[in-house]
Symmetry: C2
Subunit: 360 residues, 2 copies
């Protein structure tokens, strides 16, 4: 008897279920587990747009041959502290986690490393990968671009036509407090999904998010989707030249360095991951003392009006993860039905699906 | 006969003059030239707040013993691709240029490098150093923090009291077009100097730049200066959590990694410079082809309403440099008189000063 508009699903059960779905789609179990962990953790941390809602898309991509489960990955070229990793169109998460391992191994032996990917599918929540690096005690900075195949709907500063993607950046810093300081944000004013949300809710957009096809500011979500298609402004509002600059930096690090042209039609993402070994500069003990001092100093600011406390980047996400780990992940019925349909389509035992559905 | 409100000074003459001022203050000629080049080039590129207006401040710092002309610099600790450079409280520009040389040398032999500074004075326009790296064919990313001595007047997101400085970032990318793609921006919504300008002009600030001492939004510049003192918001307007995150990243890279605590009272700046060797990834020829493609693609966007064309980061600065190189650097009379007074105070021949003044 469901009376609420959403289910609450147990994270561990959900992980097993999603893993089984990808195994049935042809992925080796260890790779299916990487993708499943990634998606469910995104939900746990509140990134629902990058969570299990992607299962259907990925299965569709497998069917179309865009994602090649089990595909071999190889280092295209490398030095002691750099590499171009060819992900062979495996799941983007599998490729990016290989990049993480590669960069950590190089930074362990050579103090710092930069790894870029090519032929990498949609890699999901970028913060997953910087977080994984920080959890090993290293500093990580990541940039992620999208080739034009996924749409270039972010304006260059002063321009009228989209030339960039939402090009997110992320960094993670180990903290004395357990969870890393973790930031993950698009260099566009908003991600596209947020505009879709306003459109579905028939709400006006805040000023400064989009322009219409003529380049004029608009608060009507339909002016973005068109036709004719509008565009999203770069991050920074009136000062969006900074968001534009960061977006270009992402494009160059994650695209150009991997040898991928900015106008080449292909799916997926490019990733650039820079890893720094803290112990090249100071001991982990000293670092922890200074990070602790900074953390306490920042958090000692009294809260602004309408705020309860000052949080560090990532802190809201880790709090939500604790809450959702304890009380389940909210999933709306429509999304869940779509996932169940997808699961059946790869021949997953219907009893299993039904059992999963009962967890709410 | 001066009828205009400003002088126009020839850049090369100005460089020689400012160099002579610093030599008279006790700096070795090669170090005086670094500082002079830096300041005049900042004026050429339009960063007047970081140009020759700083001469008086630096001479005052020399008198107070804050800046130690000719001070020895040394590597505190290093690996093949990292270093902590102790700048010995020499001019900040001299220290930062040494960091540039050190990072380039390491990246040349080991593909990438990260150099951080300590005991570094005010280093001026951050873009100077990333630009110098890019002009040698490498990619540079830089972060610059300020210890609390210079004021912590930027809010952490959700806070009421300043905990961060304007913490600028810069990057520079070699371009097929001659000048690098060059970006240099504070991670606060505005630099402090811009608020001072509005105050002097008795103008209201745009919404979203500052809050008063109670943390409430204000458009009155006086609410920032107080007393009681207000604060500047982090970059990003309503979405300032991203500017806050970037500011923290700067603080950690440029302060913590050098072993400098975030609450330690001291003057100057901390610098973190990350340098990547492009040829670790692809040939310079391939890189240039792809950068050219990206450059043309970006610039092919028709201009937005009220814009004439799409420019790359740094393009406006290089254009202004060409204009000011040809037609002189505008300097207001008050600033120029202050500089002449400073020059006389270090015993610079008054004829020289007067000759310089006639260039307008």
């Amino acid at each position: 008897m469901r009376t609420t508009s959403e289910l609450r699903l147990d994270a561990d059960s959900l992980k097993s279920f999603v893993e089984a779905v990808f195994v049935h789609s042809g992925a080796p179990p260890d790779e299916a587990r990487i993708v499943s962990d990634h998606l469910v953790t995104a939900n746990l941390m509140g990134y629902d747009s990058h969570g299990i809602i992607r299962v259907c898309q990925y299965l569709e991509d497998v069917r179309k041959g865009i994602i090649v489960p089990g595909a071999a990955m190889r280092i295209d070229s490398e030095t002691d502290n750099s590499a171009i990793l060819d992900c062979g169109w495996n799941f983007g998460q599998v490729g990016a986690m290989r990049a993480v391992q590669c960069a950590i191994a190089k930074a362990q032996s050579h103090h710092m490393a930069t790894v870029v990917t090519k032929r990498c599918n949609h890699l999901g929540r970028l913060g997953t990968f910087t977080q994984a690096v920080a959890e090993k005690g290293f500093i990580a900075i990541a940039a992620c671009n999208s080739p034009p195949g996924d749409g270039r709907f972010v304006l260059p500063w002063g321009g009228r036509d989209g030339r960039l993607s939402t090009n997110p950046m992320s960094f993670a810093i180990p903290s004395d407090d357990g969870n890393p300081i973790l930031s993950d944000f698009s260099t566009s004013q908003v991600p596209e999904g947020k505009i879709r949300l306003y459109k579905n809710q028939k709400k006006k957009l805040p000023v400064g998010w989009i322009v219409d096809a003529d380049g004029n500011p608009s608060t009507n979500p339909q002016d973005f989707y068109g036709p004719p298609r509008g565009a999203i402004l770069p991050f920074g509002g009136d000062l969006g030249h900074r968001g534009y600059a960061l977006s270009l930096l992402v494009e160059i690090l994650a695209g150009v360095l991997a040898g991928v042209g900015s106008t080449k039609q292909q799916p997926g993402n490019g990733l650039c991951l820079i890893v720094l070994d803290i112990s090249a500069f100071l001991s982990h003990r000293e670092f922890n003392v200074l990070i602790g001092e900074l953390r306490r100093y920042i958090k000692s600011s009294p809260p602004a009006p309408n705020h309860r406390e000052v949080l560090l980047p990532g802190e809201p996400d880790f709090r939500l993860m604790a809450e959702r780990s304890a009380h389940g992940i909210p999933v709306d019925h429509q999304t869940w039905e779509q996932i169940c349909d997808s699961a059946r389509s790869v021949g997953l035992d219907a009893t299993e699906v039904s059992k999963m559905s009962q967890l709410s």
